[in-house]
């Protein structure tokens, strides 16, 4: 089974069903209800935090409430204070949107059992703490398929931020998709050791293209790498949002984080008293992950990409299914074996076809 955790759609269904019998279903309460959001970056980063804020705005609009956000919250000692402040000031649900907020969120949640907490990308839960994340790797697989068809050199340049499982599973999904159409496909990867530095992202993109890559994939948030591809008449993939405006002739597609519905449903559930702790890892099927329109590619590639997307959505295609070889060619996942979510979430090995090292 690909989806062992409770899926997002199920959670939504439960939320809606409970919504029919609201616990505190007064109209007056909607205006009083406060949701709080904690961002690690500035909302002006046009990346991770920006997309979360778009989700917040959509949820506010749908529910007719005004929410609070605190941006640029460091993941160290300050996070606990900010989260506590939100809990203290009557926020009924609090979304903490970066991995580093995990332990502070749990600490505060212990002291405020009546407040609902939602922590993005983490793995520790409690009765009043849910976790949620997006299966970004599904988009990577589709991108890999497209790259396999589109790359003439058979080499993709992949810009990583910091070597964490999130980034590694993305690379592996990408190479699996790529090799499904071009068995000789290769990834050259570079880590910029920063989450956020448009200049360095551009530098890395240039270096990878100079090393013979003709398509750029990125696990960093700025459109800088795509701009480089555009300038050189090559192709690439966007990240976090649809970046076609920055690279009208270069963006093939983009993995779009779509938090709008999740934030709306969870806030609504908290308002109505039907909120329950869960763990959601939603992908294409749940609607948390969107593919930006397929562009700048021939029709047959587009058809193939759309078919792949449909197969992943319908569960016909399982991405991390054996046989998968590790970087050195040894068997990592036996034929027929399917990695469970735990194995995917903690991925610390590179698949065959990805070049470069991981720190050990």
């Amino acid at each position: 089974m690909l989806i062992k955790r409770r899926t997002f759609t199920k959670a939504l269904g439960a939320g809606l069903a409970a919504g029919a019998l609201p616990a505190f279903g007064h109209q007056a309460r909607a205006a009083d209800f406060k949701a709080g959001y904690v961002y690690v970056g500035p909302i002006g980063d046009h990346g991770w935090s920006y997309q979360h804020d778009q989700g917040r705005l959509a949820a506010d609009k749908a529910l007719g409430i005004t929410s609070t956000y605190v941006e640029k919250v460091p993941e160290g000692a300050d996070a606990e204070r900010v989260i506590r402040e939100l809990a203290e000031t009557g926020h009924g649900i609090i979304f903490t949107t970066s991995f580093g907020f995990m332990d502070p969120t749990l600490k505060v949640a212990r002291d405020y059992p009546e407040v609902k907490f939602e922590h993005a990308t983490g793995y520790k839960r409690a009765d009043n703490v849910s976790t949620y994340n997006i299966r970004f790797y599904e988009a990577r697989y589709i991108q890999g398929v497209i790259a396999g068809k589109m790359s003439t050199s058979g080499v993709v340049g992949y810009i990583g931020s910091i070597p964490i499982p999130e980034v590694i599973m993305g690379m592996n999904a990408f190479i699996l998709g790529m090799r499904s159409v071009n068995p000789q496909g290769r990834i050259k990867q570079v880590f910029i050791n920063s989450w956020y530095d448009p200049g360095k992202e551009a530098d890395a993109a240039k270096a990878l293209l100079d090393q013979g890559a003709d398509i750029i994939a990125q696990h960093t948030d700025s459109p800088a790498p795509l701009q480089v591809a555009q300038e050189r008449g090559l192709k690439g993939f966007g990240q976090a949002s649809d970046m076609i405006k920055f690279a009208p002739d270069a963006q093939l597609t983009s993995a779009v984080d779509f938090w709008d519905d999740y934030y709306t449903e969870r806030t609504k559930a908290a308002m109505e008293g039907s909120w329950a702790s869960h763990d959601v890892w939603g992908g294409l099927k749940s609607g948390m992950l969107h593919m930006a329109p397929y562009a700048n590619m021939p029709d047959d590639v587009k058809q193939m990409a759309m078919a792949t997307e449909a197969d992943i959505r319908d569960g016909k295609l399982t991405i991390f299914k054996g046989p998968i070889n590790a970087q050195d060619g040894s068997a990592k996942v036996a034929a027929g074996e399917v990695l469970d979510d735990g194995a995917i979430a903690g991925m610390d090995w590179l698949a065959q076809g990805v070049e470069g090292d991981l720190p050990k």
Binding site: G41, P42, I43, G44, D45, H46, G47, Y50, P163, K188, Q189, V190, F191, I192, N193, S194, Y196, D197, P198, G199, K200, E201, A202, D203, A204, K206, A207, L208, L209, D210, Q211, S222, P223, A224, Q227, E231, S241, K245, F246, E355, G356, D357, P359, K360
Partner: protein, 308 residues
């Protein structure tokens, strides 16, 4: 290596080095006048958003570049007023200027996130830019790249060959003596600060109009600090600053190529190369103590008040 690849690598080195050089040459002149402005990062960000906002709104990159310079100068004016007129501590005021600039730039830029502008065009000279290798490198760059090189030559000429430069250096080395001779210490320092602000602003414009043509908060990502360090690296000489900026930019690019080679070195260690190399080279060129002392402005960071 194919020449096309070599050209392309050198082009990326130029792009990585130019913002450091622009901001660095401004700060170098400021420091030569005896003022230490640690607010380069803040001025750079304000320049970046001013340049982007005006280019985006007016459609004219020339106006944008002008606005970036003016934005940087406005920030420098705040610094100069506080430190030169009101005698506030330079180190702390510069750091406060950075905090202020980060906030100001973010506020100015709130409406400009997520919009592209066309990249600053190269000044393609017909025929010349078609010459292999040299053509695109030497004749295909954009205005700010040429300007950064011209600024090095200009600053070098100004500091060592002009009367104004002599006065500026005299003020940096001993403001009391310069004042006694009758040189207008404060006015010259004001002008130097404004020049530094304009250059930091242009460095910002290079980021938001050429390097990565977009606006995003904090997009300078610490380059102002590197520029400051490079002025020290250069031992306050424009020629060495050029060398330092290109060395740093070059190794920044090189480290990505090293990473793809699969040498088994963790990427974090490879990323240390530019910083370590700068320290090593500084040690090598500084060991001759007498030459450094000749260059470091003796009054750097010290407040001046005309007695009597």
């Amino acid at each position: 290596m194919e020449s096309a690849v070599l050209v392309s690598i050198l082009l990326s080195v130029i792009a990585a080095s130019t913002p450091l050089l622009l901001a660095g040459i401004g700060e170098l002149v400021v420091e030569r006048s005896g003022v230490l402005n640690l607010g380069v990062e803040g001025m750079m960000l304000v320049g970046a958003i001013a340049g982007f906002a005006v280019t985006y709104s007016s459609g004219s990159a020339s106006l944008g570049i002008l606005a970036a310079a003016l934005g940087g100068m406005a920030m420098a004016l705040v610094f100069a007023f506080l430190t030169l007129t009101l005698q506030a501590n330079q180190v702390a005021t510069g750091l406060a200027l950075t905090i202020f600039g980060i906030g100001l730039a973010a506020m100015m830029g709130a409406g400009f996130v997520g919009h592209p502008v066309p990249k600053l065009p190269g000044l393609d000279l017909p025929l010349l830019s078609a010459i292999p290798v040299i053509g695109p490198l030497v004749f295909g760059q954009d205005f700010l790249v040429y300007f950064s090189i011209a600024a090095v030559i200009g600053a070098s000429w100004f500091l060592y060959r002009s009367h104004g430069g002599l006065v500026l250096r005299a003020i940096g080395d001993s403001h009391d003596a310069a004042h006694a001779i009758g040189y207008p210490v404060i006015r010259i320092r004001y002008l130097a600060c404004l020049f530094g602000g304009a250059m930091s602003g242009l460095a910002g414009a290079y980021l938001s109009l050429s390097y990565t043509p977009m606006w995003a908060e904090d997009m300078s990502a610490g380059r102002g600090w590197i520029a400051l360090a490079l002025v020290v690296f250069a031992t306050w000489r424009p020629g060495r600053l050029l060398l330092g900026a290109y060395l740093f930019g070059g190794i920044t690019i090189l480290q990505f190529h090293v990473q793809t080679m699969g040498l088994g070195i963790p990427p974090q260690f490879v990323s240390m190369l530019p910083y370590l190399a700068t320290i090593l080279v500084l040690c090598a060129i500084s060991s001759d103590a007498t030459r450094i002392r000749l260059n470091a402005p003796a009054c750097l960071g010290r407040p001046f008040h005309a007695a009597g």
